[in-house]
Symmetry: C2
């Protein structure tokens, strides 16, 4: 009961993602009930161009878990021990090439606890200005853990080695009572930069420097598989640069919630106690971890297909009059869609949603729709998706 | 991946509950896989005399959520806002008679955060020695929140007003640098005292005194409905004595995890930020809250029936040779079962489990089985349960 009304909060939730993804088909508060995305009356499985994942309704979520359980009985965990949760931890340790992995209820807890542990008695943590840890974790580092987050690369999609060096100099040379810098955090792909994947050489240069200077490194890899899918750099290769890596379970692995933190045993072994005292040791988590485990299996092959299908869809759509979908610098699964003024976006999105169960986000102030690719593209052939767009564009022509 | 092996941990989990509830039918490590309670091959829905709730397998949990969703579509929450989670919060605010209620991922987080908030700048919190907050929350208060937990009533099932006064005197009169006592915590029913419900007059005397002296009061009411069911004191009446009350969602409301904290708006409104910075703001929680909401509805009526059925079952069992089930002082849903030496408990429990899907816990060192009543008793008629026992006792006779 955070506030007294529900609807405005949900709208804010979607708006505040900073994605401008609130579908144009839901512009009025009176229609906000549709935000539950209950498409159970629809004949077709949804294809969405809004989220990183499938964005299940409760019905779809339960159906999927039932199917997973039918295939092989889900083993429950108890307080995070055993069962699907342990299987997922084992799988992630292997994928990231780290000694151990551990489940946490949120990415915020994963980032914050590991930063605290890596940082030791040092007070400063260098983080990207354009990051979840700096902008979306509500000053947890300062308020809860007594660590000061120092932003690097202000105004940039991501910082370069020279930005980092400059920031370090500013503090190390300019403060009379010099206090320690312990850890450097990098987020990749960068959510607040439309999913930009930081070039591997940049990551390598930064982490090499950190290792040389004795700074610990943490990767906020909430969506690391999305970077991998587009750069061809494996998750293990990304992870190898860092002491620890956090990966989200709900952004593209379709779990209801949860996070995984991977690293050396000497770090991860400390987490069990830390998660407990910070209040994160939930009774059972298989509801989330069994789902993530399912979508983790074969993810690389599926994303290869997603990319092929997406390329076909976008190539075809780009040939249609008034439609322009542009790739971004260092882009991953997010593109910029711009429509000619002769096309009514609202009518287009409404027609796609109601007639074809295809979801399209709303435009930002610059008239750009963040056109987001995800596994829902595998639910239908590219041709069917393009045909739906053609029909809807016909209706949306002013 | 807390450790390298699963099985010993799960065994420890059950053992460490302090209930000695690890079923006697699962004595050997080689059988520990059955700890998942996968009874999908069984014809009958389980009746358990071990837990406070139904202890669903993943299959049973998913089936139940599907049924709930079929009856009325579950509305999802987003980061705890809206949907089933908000409905549950509203319901709990009403039930406890408090202004507001909020969902948290764990009872530990609920207890710890509210103690911190209630205590203000005071450093000491008085807690029952025999409590979850003192024994099962891993020094979170001291380590994370800088609050010192002072145990009251050492060695007793629960403390009385005179114990509290004595402890307060010890600190207020005996310390040179007197530091503040801010909050008094009470747990009811007391898990570590076989579910004893503290007499209402004792609670009233203590909380009246606290109010008079300006101490805040928090009720760890993880299983408060179980106290209500046996004492006839309503949840609202219990809650009315305290500033805040926490109630568990997974102990008898059958959710996979979660907790609810209720109190005045001025306290609960602070929790949204607190939960976020401590890492508890999970993406979606309807998986747990829709289940708890379902079992919250009509709980009082169901427990009236549970008590009637349980009385019939226990009365009949007590007439059987060699079986003795005893009520406890201030007891709620836990009884002490003692078997005559002529009965082999292991054979009895095995026969009940394999032949009738009835679960019985193992005995403690004193030969006592904690015979626990819960809603699973409503799954079968008392007569059928008693008949099953008769058959199993016949087999278990040495």
């Amino acid at each position: 009961m955070k506030k007294n009304t529900t609807t405005p909060q949900r709208r804010n939730f979607l708006k505040n993602l900073g994605l401008s993804t609130l579908p144009v088909l839901l512009p009025a508060a009176s229609m906000a009930s549709e935000l539950t995305w209950d498409t159970s009356n629809q004949q077709q499985v949804p294809v969405n161009f809004i989220f990183d994942g499938l964005w299940f309704s409760p019905q779809a979520y339960l159906d999927k878990l039932q199917a997973i359980n039918q295939k092989q009985a889900i083993a429950p965990d108890y307080y995070g021990n055993g069962g699907a949760t342990q299987k997922l931890e084992t799988a992630f340790a292997k994928i990231t090439g780290k000694e151990k992995a551990i489940f946490l209820p949120t990415g915020t807890m994963a980032n914050q606890l590991v930063i605290k542990l890596l940082n030791g008695n040092n007070t400063k943590v260098l983080v990207p200005e354009n990051s979840h840890v700096f902008r979306d974790e509500a000053d947890a580092a300062q308020e809860v853990h007594g660590k000061r987050l120092v932003p690097v690369g202000k105004g940039k999609p991501f910082f370069e080695l020279q930005d980092l060096k400059q920031t370090i100099r500013y503090y190390n040379e300019g403060e009379v009572f010099r206090s320690g810098i312990g850890t450097v955090v990098i987020e990749c792909p960068v959510r607040r930069a439309d999913g930009a994947a930081i070039p591997f050489n940049t990551l390598k240069a930064i982490t090499n420097y950190c290792r040389e200077k004795g700074y610990k490194t943490h990767l906020d890899g909430a969506r690391i598989h999305l970077a991998s899918a587009y750069t061809g750099v494996s998750v293990a290769k990304y992870a190898s640069l860092f002491d620890t890596v956090y990966i989200s379970l709900y952004k593209y692995l379709n779990a209801s919630s949860g996070a995984i933190l991977c690293g050396k045993a000497e770090v991860i072994d400390q987490l069990t106690h830390q998660i407990k005292v910070y209040g994160g040791t939930a009774f059972q988590t298989w509801n989330a971890t069994a789902m993530a485990l399912h979508y983790l299996e074969g993810i690389e092959d599926r994303w290869k297909k997603v990319k092929v299908n997406a390329a076909q869809v976008m190539s075809s759509l780009n040939k249609l009059e008034g439609v322009q979908i542009n790739k971004l610098t260092n882009g991953t699964n997010i593109y910029h869609l711009k429509l000619d003024k002769t096309i009514d976006l609202k009518v287009l999105a409404n027609t796609l949603f109601k007639g074809h169960n295809i979801w399209l986000g709303r435009a930002n102030k610059e008239g750009i729709v963040k056109f987001t690719i995800n596994e829902s593209l595998l639910q239908r052939t590219p041709q069917k998706i393009v045909d739906a767009w053609k029909q809807a564009l016909g209706k949306a022509k002013k």
